[in-house]
Symmetry: C2
Subunit: 247 residues, 2 copies
């Protein structure tokens, strides 16, 4: 079953042939898959292409929430509200599978082995949000951008692309909005990482030259400054490794 394949979950033979329940849909770059306020009907799985999902508050301010790509599920954050709370736009031509949530629930009734597929989808969504929190809570701009690049790198490699060379599909502005930075800062930070020899940047093209170095930047700011989390409550110490003190 194609769906299971994309999600990397095991599937049993009993459900082979149910593919017809879920239809494929194609979108061109720039098209909107769903909009805010629209009634929630289905989840989407990305087969190919790149997208961005944006929440828009009552005052019209936008906040980029995610950049779905191959194998990702989106729309899950609207399950509880029954209406989409965000909109997602195709950044490139892309093809998706629609998973009408109703069908999914029905299927999981009929096939007990699918029970945890729903849990799994939710779990993914939670992990996704957690990852985003990690980026936003990074100590400074360098760490945020570094984490963003590492995260992209890992997701690309999971989808079978190169882990070290890829193209950014979104604008600096989108990245900045996503990370809570101005787009100038994103641009400057990329230049700085380039200058430092950790990566190579040419417009949208990224080449991660020193992944390990870059990973170190995810925590420790460049100039040897303290990481921001030093401020965190050290309540609950000592931890398992008593030798390693964060301060």
């Amino acid at each position: 079953m194609e769906v299971c394949e994309l999600l990397h979950i095991p599937f049993s033979v009993s459900i082979v042939g149910k593919d017809l329940l879920f239809q494929h849909v194609q979108f061109r770059a720039g098209q909107r898959i769903h909009t805010v306020g629209q009634q929630f009907v289905s989840l989407f799985i990305v087969i190919s292409g790149f997208l961005k999902t944006v929440s828009i508050d009552d005052l019209g301010y936008e906040q980029v929430l995610d950049f779905p790509m191959k194998g990702d599920v989106f729309g899950a954050d609207s399950i509880s509200t029954k209406r989409y709370s965000s909109e997602t736009v195709a950044l490139s031509d892309c093809s998706l599978i629609m998973l009408p949530f109703h069908n999914l629930v029905a299927l999981s009734h009929a096939h007990v082995e699918l029970e945890n597929v729903i849990c799994d989808i939710f779990g993914r969504e939670l992990l996704r949000k957690q990852a985003m929190l990690d980026m936003l809570s990074a100590p400074n701009a360098e760490a945020k951008v570094a984490r963003f690049l590492i995260s992209l790198s890992e997701r690309y490699s999971e989808s079978g692309y190169s882990k070290t060379e890829f193209n950014l599909r979104m604008t600096r502005r989108d990245i900045g909005n996503y990370l809570g930075l101005s787009f100038e800062t994103v641009s400057r930070t990329l230049s700085a990482l380039n200058e430092a020899g950790l990566i190579s940047v040419d417009q949208r093209a990224i080449w991660i030259k020193e992944p390990d170095m870059l990973k170190r930047f995810c925590r420790i700011p460049s100039c040897g400054l303290q990481a921001r989390q030093d401020r965190s409550g050290i309540t609950g110490w000592p931890r398992s490794a008593p030798g390693l003190l964060v301060n």
Copy 2:
């Protein structure tokens, strides 16, 4: 059924009497409910008391994720990983209900009307994370703290406490870590809001004097500066209300 009551969800008579499946547990202030790496067995519902959940990365850096209180469910972010990815500590004496996840799943098999209880729990968790993202993505310290206070206020009022007068149960340091600010900035910002007459602060005691004013601070910085989201991509315009432009 007490569980349903706490979660504000309807319950049918068919499940009355199943309470015994879920046991109550008490904790004293400072005790740890679960720790990182421990095997995931159950969710917890807060009956009374206040807690904080903290994630701890491989380097020992802490990040406050949540401050659960009456009616909140915690532990849900560990369902997919099978191990707790965070730890939660009691900030005051508190009593909880344990919901062994396995039992919950079994129950939902037996009683179809419970089907969406699980969805509901996940939905709450997603909304919680979204709320946290909103705070972290706020344009500046004032907005973050204002949103934090408003959010607390709403949660208190949902639990039957006063919406305008309450005690902070966590330290400035915890708040700072949660919001991505230094604890000095938190303290200063509270003082500034106090000075401005919007709230009254005395150590842990908070009194929200001008809720509406405070809510305005959630978006618009004090000195009439631009909101940070101005930077966001304005891709996808025009929106439904073409008159309202964010810029």
